[in-house]
Homo-oligomer: 126 residues x 2
């Protein structure tokens, strides 16, 4: 069953989530985490980012629910980030539906010279 339309609220909601991942550094962080690089210091090192900036971006990813945080049981100073598979999967499916070319409808003629509105208007006498 293919979803054919999105409500305005759903579109706005999707845009919000897209804004979270539409930032190059954040998307790079996600890619690294997906690859298995999940401790804060390695993320900062491999991307050349200051630790506070890492915190900032990971916080946004975390608020969006895309990643989860775990503290090391031996030494709780260390934190490890991991992707939230469920949220990722939901996002994947939503995007899959939104950008499905099957959804595309032909132009609805309601404007321009061919529109009936135009013709009707012309029939109204002045």
């Amino acid at each position: 069953m293919i979803k054919t339309t999105f409500t305005n609220e759903q579109v706005v909601e999707l845009a919000k989530l897209l804004k979270v991942i539409a930032e190059p550094k954040r998307l790079l962080l996600l890619e690294e985490i997906i690859r298995g690089v999940q401790c804060n210091c390695d993320l900062g090192e491999s991307l050349g980012m200051a630790p506070n900036l890492i915190s900032h971006h990971l916080g946004i990813l975390r608020t969006a629910g895309l990643v989860t945080i775990t503290r090391d049981p031996e030494d709780s100073r260390w934190v490890y980030y991991a992707i939230n598979a469920q949220v990722m999967e939901d996002l994947r499916r939503t995007l899959d539906q939104f950008f499905s070319t099957q959804r595309a409808q032909p132009r609805r003629i309601s404007c321009g010279p061919q529109s009936e509105d135009k013709v009707d208007k012309d029939l109204i006498p002045k």
Copy 2:
């Protein structure tokens, strides 16, 4: 064949394209165009946006290659926008790969108490 990694350049490129669609008004415009509402005036009317703002956002969508523009053959003052199916499909597949949970790797231990670096360091005498 599932793509397992993205290069930094690919990630940055993807982020740029995501930025284009991560704007609520633009995503709403895309949704409307997909539904078949494709003339400028209708788009503005159904979304409550001024014509110049419509132009602005559609210009960005057009620069990104997501939509194409056609002028009315009878009255070239009217323009109609349509989605670029090829670009949409490419984007859909890229996102499908990026957010595929199958890509996710377990944590690579290179930091923290369990890391070998740590242990090796401890073996070095002072």
